[in-house]
Subunit: 386 residues, 4 copies
């Protein structure tokens, strides 16, 4: 439905996510779900004819179903009812170029994670975002879950005291096969510094930072492959030190045979702990040092934080899932963009969604972990350049 | 996105679900989620001015944001790009009149449950549906979950053998208060034969029939209120006999203090059993007489039935929830309507969604249960009139 | 270890539980576990020679390893260091005769459940216990679990307010076979009024009464068999009314293919609820009307009731199981008997264990349920004769 | 009950575990539970008079309730019905001296973990065991659980293929207090190289080796304290490499506020995985690369391995717990000792229990981890000296 402050839906252009892509439809459902966006233009494939056809099949007007992202940005930046937002869901190695062009053309941007494929381009993109003053979201989508927002609010309110231990994991099984089908993910030349860290490690890394509000300062990593014939890494395990002297660990893999999604955290503070697993996203386990465990559940009443309620659509006991979490980032972003359209100053915008800075921190994490693993020692992780 | 066979989205008119309604936004999200519908007309409230305003706030064109459902049906039935479907989400006691009018005006209809408030009107509505030849869906929404579809497919394929025991429950706590706030649900004059059975008992009843493919033939019920000062019933417990001599039981309440949603089934057959709970909807427990329990999970691969895969949007481990289940009914219905628009004969239409007959069976169940409880004896439950 | 108040272990004679019996070894482990008993005499089998051999194999002195229970009671009642307690774990239809004889000979008695096979003998046994003044325990063993004690203490302290709903279930699968092996349990002539109710229904019935402190006043039952060729019942489902107007239901079966043990309760009161399942016995779920669910766990600290702590041996997180629960009844009983040996008056004895009265109530329940099922109507359940 | 092959119970002398000790009663229950042992002599405390009194309170004959362990070994080694087994459950820093003396006196020995407090004495004790030819058990008690035995049997049978990933954790909360009460555990002078690794890390380490059959070859550790004022370590996180190139990680802490016991493993191989958590010990989750997850449950039927059945006392669905697991080591050990008494050669003895070698490996692990942590680098872990 229209955003009340501006009396209309935001206009969205989508780049990438054409036939065969799963993430494309996820982005589009996220855009549709709360009715804040109307998809007005598309460049869905790197193949011009497929790109045009796929756009028209989505119901895009024929003259705005572009054959390429370049054509889209070129044309759409010049029309009067130009898109408010460009969403980029192409393969990782094109994010930098496309986002830069979209920012230069004056669009607000939503970019699928990872931000780019290395730290240098990521830092450059952060600079570009600052320069243009645009709103920018990287879809570390798991931060859209109401119970992740709740965990963050509880940590910030002191419910578990000063953070002392953080355990992060993302344990999947979809590549636990010797004979995995050919995919760009298994091609060492296209993967970047580390398949496993870029693909899912950055999600876990961001989740830890998002909930605790703490940065990792040092890490010691083992990044390798456990499926013998593999040419890219499929396993990483890390020791972490946080800015407040808390300690942590991370286990990420896509080669745990039979595992499904496996993203979760356990965080312990001076007075208690919090545990969340994405496969049962509507509940958060609250450990209490001096009491019983409580099962905090998604709901609209005042037992949960306002931050959680704001991203909750339906009453207690009716599960919301991954698509709703993804949609929450889109709707959060819509609110920020609408506020900008109402001339709210950039400084006063609420941004509960992950930003370009968060994306760059993820790339810094990947590079430090790979370096640590190859040198067999601890590495420092600083974000001074941000 | 447009339905490929007809090259466009279906046009939808919505009646009810205005300000303050939760179910209204659920229906609208369900319509938006897969992009099969465009909402073109509305009559959102029984208060004319509020109805118009709410429609415009939803982005409906001013001249199609009607002050009343009568005006909507009257006007929309005469225009050339008239709606394909009318969705009715008003209070229960208006369903019969509105649906009848919509059918008479030639629309296909989606109606929130319960179908009506008594068996006589329900049977009449079934007759009307047959007469008009329209497609009709009652939103017993829990049948939209992929794992409910999976359970049904497993029963039908013989995975647990002949059904022998069925246990149904819907154990909520939202009215477990002496001092519950005034709502039409607590007004004995508006509730109909039984609050608890109409409100949630019919969901459990339909779920049992949907999964097992069996009808209840006899029942013995206790329908009462356990909150002392209450004037409507908030508790029912039933003994059930099924058409194949299987036995069953049902426990439904909204007065279980601290319970959340609580809908679920356990069904046992000659060779095994199935257990599902709506609060963890992405998994189905498969008991095996001669083996270990298996956890059947929502996924897109061939370990699950085609029926489940057809209503699955995202890969294994990424939870789908209530809104997706609800959207599945809308999208199932869109497929049926689109097929009719392509001149597929009514006889050849796939209808995985609940129909008017299912709605009427629910009303027969309610009336038999109330009778059994007040007479303190078993009652027969026949559906010959359908 | 010796009971401190009397400076020695209690002397125990065991009747029944010989080769091939599982429950025999359970009773003996229960007697050994806390070291309160020394097994000094036995009559383990109805076959004289096997009875003697089995006794000697257990380490019983040759002259106290009797060929029959009659010989045991006859001889052991005349010696100076006679047993303090006789434990009876023979087939159900001999309980009445053996317990009567043991009571007449002046022994305290532990009897496996059910107390007898019909109400008349059960009532007679209650009378006999009163007459002799002996201590008597019926091993409804599930009441020995610390978290069942905790639930009872919480109900009594008002933690969930006045009881309003009780749901009991015992859903097993061990007889879910058409071709089940021959056992006395499937012989209608030996089973008594109802296999399913006597075998496991009485456990569930007692558990409900033990935790809530309420008696059932009326019931309406379906008692039948769901395995077609069976000659005894394997399924019962009941509607219950309690003395304080609370409502309840019960589902018991041994023919749920693939189910394991399946005993549990959910009890809701004005302010909250409690849920316990025997398969995860160390935790109790506490539903709160105005808060989150808490997971109450077995522990030695003051978050749990004294009643629970008293039957807890090891620290939090180290599971205790079925054998410990069973042993708790034995040790509770040892305390009662030791107190009697120290001349505590019968009136002042603590009896957290189930007594003969509880056993008789179970038989009354069975007979009322069978009558209700065959007449198809509600039956009253009174205990005035106790 | 008597061990059939030798026609009697084993005679057991216990050293340590007097008043105030929890582990003492655990050992004694473990000895009593299956009736394989008779406790005939004791030295329960380092305080002579308390030692004598506590022995008599346990029912030990006055002349065998010794004032000191030295007196016990001196006297008991000279009598004709001398103990078969000496069980040692004193504080860690006395294990070496007492075990050495007991072995020298010709007893078989059960020793609580850790074996000693450093590698040098542990290696010396292994040598002594070999020299004397005695049977020796270190009570890494978690290997007594039937589902741990099942996991080991499944790994060995190839059910999950070649091992690729091992994740071990032991996450407790009992020292998550700034103001923890004074205990020897918090005294850096008595704790040895590392409280957390000796106290619980060795359990996790042994469990991984026991189930996988693999040794750790290299590790990289962070061993520290997260409670600021603490003087001993309460946290360790490790990266592990296994002999077959599998990778692993370990997280152990006693300072996770609100956590209970928290021991568990997840192990993934080429074809599947296994997950077990001590707090729900009767089930083992079996991940299948090409199928659904199965819940493997403790039972006596042929769906589980013989190794699991051998340590299972009661039927499916009736939980066994920590005390039964501990008792399994005692009964396993009794079988080994009885076989030796029947002149079975040491070479042919089955030893499903942890041995002195396993104890020494634990000490090697502790020392390597502490070294790795203080040097900030990977360390090799060899067991050539064993």
């Amino acid at each position: 439905m229209p955003i009340q402050t501006i009396g209309r839906c935001l206009r969205l252009a989508v780049i990438g996510g054409g036939p065969g892509s799963e993430i494309g439809e996820v982005h589009r459902i996220a855009a549709r779900l709360d009715g804040c966006y109307e998809i007005v233009a598309s460049a869905l494939s790197s193949h011009p004819e497929r790109s045009r056809e796929a756009g028209r099949a989505l119901g895009i007007a024929a003259d705005r179903a572009y054959p390429s992202w370049q054509a889209l940005i070129e044309s759409e930046s010049r029309i009067s009812d130009r898109p408010d937002v460009v969403a980029v869901m192409t393969p990782n190695d094109s994010h930098y170029e496309i986002c830069t062009a979209a920012l230069d053309a004056g669009f607000h941007v939503i970019c699928d994670k990872p931000l780019t494929t290395n730290l240098a381009t990521a830092v450059d993109l952060v600079r570009k975002v600052k320069e243009t003053g645009a709103e920018f979201c990287v879809t570390y989508c798991y931060t859209g879950y109401p119970m992740v927002r709740q965990a963050r609010a509880m940590v910030h309110s002191g419910a578990i005291g000063a953070i002392r231990q953080v355990h992060l994991q993302f344990v999947q099984g979809y590549l636990a096969f010797n004979e995995a089908p050919p995919t760009w993910r298994l091609d060492p030349d296209r993967v970047g510094a580390s398949l496993i860290l870029i693909d899912i490690g950055t999600h876990a890394f961001h989740l830890g930072a998002y909930v605790t509000g703490l940065d990792v300062t040092d890490l010691c990593a083992e990044v390798t492959h456990v499926v013998p014939i593999r040419k890219v890494d499929d396993y990483a395990s890390l020791l972490l030190r946080y800015s407040n002297h808390a300690r942590g660990s991370m286990w990420v893999t896509n080669a745990a045979a039979g595992a499904e999604h496996g993203l979760g955290f356990r965080i312990f503070g001076e007075a208690g702990g919090l545990e969340w697993n994405q496969e049962e996203p509507n509940r958060l386990i609250h450990y209490k040092r001096d009491g019983f465990k409580e099962i905090v559940t998604r709901r609209k009443d005042h037992l949960v934080s306002e931050a959680a309620r704001q991203v909750t659509r339906i009453e207690i006991g009716h599960p919301e899932g991954f698509l709703e979490a993804f949609a929450n980032l889109y709707s959060d972003f819509a609110n920020a963009v609408a506020a900008r359209l109402c001339n709210t100053s950039a400084h006063d915008i609420q941004r509960p969604f992950p930003t370009a800075e968060d994306g760059a921190k993820g790339m810094a994490f990947v590079e430090a972990a790979v370096r640590s693993s190859s040198l067999g020692r601890w590495e420092r992780l600083g974000f001074d350049y941000l």
